[in-house]
Amino acid sequence: MMLEVKGVGKSFRNDAGVKEVLRGLTLHVREGEFVSIVGPSGSGKTTLFQLIGGLELPSSGEIWIGGRNTTGERGHIAYMPQQASLLPWRTVRGNIELSLGIAGIDKKRARELAGEWLARIGLAEYADAYPRTLSGGMSQRVSFLRALLSPQPLMLLDEPFGALDALTRLDMQRWLLSIWETNRRSVLLVTHSIEEALYLSDRVLVLSASPAAVTDEIEVPFARPREESILLDERFNALKGRIYGQLKEGRKEG
């Protein structure tokens, strides 16, 4: 099992008292599986990622990555945030090299990997450009590549296309699928978009509002490689309706 979140609870203390964000949350991601989490805003998805990333300690429960208890430990995940988060003073290649270096890959190998893959995704001419010259879509491609090339087997994608316009977003989803389907990694994706979750994932988990818990789990029945035509499939729409209903329910409870 790649990732196991075992009965994790998290509460924050502030002036207004104690706020319970997660309660008894349990989920898992298998080796090479693509799992998405959808939930209403404020359902503690960010907190969940910070717990898995080891930036916060859970109030109860444990996080296991790669069959080892890694609760509160950092450096076990590859990460793609909502904002591309490229260092503005480093070139595109330099940004990829830095992240790989931090993950423990030696300089020469990181350089080779970055050059090779930038060429493969058609951004070779931007290798020595500064991030400010990239469009939003290009920045996110670099950001995804940076996570994909990191040696950690588990990737966390935190609403990676949330800031893009609808058209670019669809392009990016298609692009991500094409790369991922030939370079399988274990992925946990957080998103607001039900379509995005269904289109990309093997499994979709639905979270309720705070305190968050998994209210539904859906095995996505479409074969890979995924065709764009599934977006028009009847089963696709039925699942969309089911998740939508779950989200509405979850919000009422919260």
Partner: protein
Amino acid sequence: MGNKRSLWSKVWPPALALAAGIGLWQASASLGWADAWTLPSPASVAAEALKADTRERLAEHTGATLRLTMLGFAGGAAAGFALAALLHLLPGLRRGLSPLLILSQNVPMVVLAPIMTMLFGYGMLPKILLVMLVCFFPVTVATLGGLAGGDEALRNYMRMIGCGRWTLFWRLELPGAVTGLFSGLKIAASYSVLSATFAEMLSPKTGLGGFMVLSTRGYMQERAFAAVILIVALSLALYGLISLAERAFTRWRPRKEAAERDA
């Protein structure tokens, strides 16, 4: 091409203003609005400065002032930067020392200078310390601001991929503070020449500050004015050098935006 034109359009207004100022100054002397012994004309200042004897002494004193300025500036900037890094990495220390830092800037130099002289004698040391004391503060404050003011999203990303405190400092916070550091250095550069000149007035043997005092006492206003012009030129040159260095260090920043920010 566009660059040349924009450079020209940037240069000519201040050049014109400067020329007008000098013209007005010359006119006030030529037309007898001011007495020559209070306000010598620019022509007479230039004539005095170009005399072989004066020129030699001006060169010598400029050299001394330059040396003092550079030593004090370099020492002050280094101390300021080191202090900023230390205070940033140890927040407890920052809370304790911040009030003292501000206090150090509130003691007037006029009081500090004689104390320094009493403690360290009439040599170079008290003067260098005085310049350092003036220079470190803007560098510390600007660098501290730069170190603390990083992008939250970037910080979160770096921590998520497993960066420790040191990596975070070297890879994210320090490069992010370069812009702040340079604005501190520019302020310190302008202060450094001024405070060096002031320090030289303590024991007016060497340096433009001393030369200025002695010239005024001897009613040789032309010489004093020549010294003032050299001090201004030194100050501008140092500021220009730092701006050039800043350009080299912040090539990633779009130039246009940088120009707007500095304006």
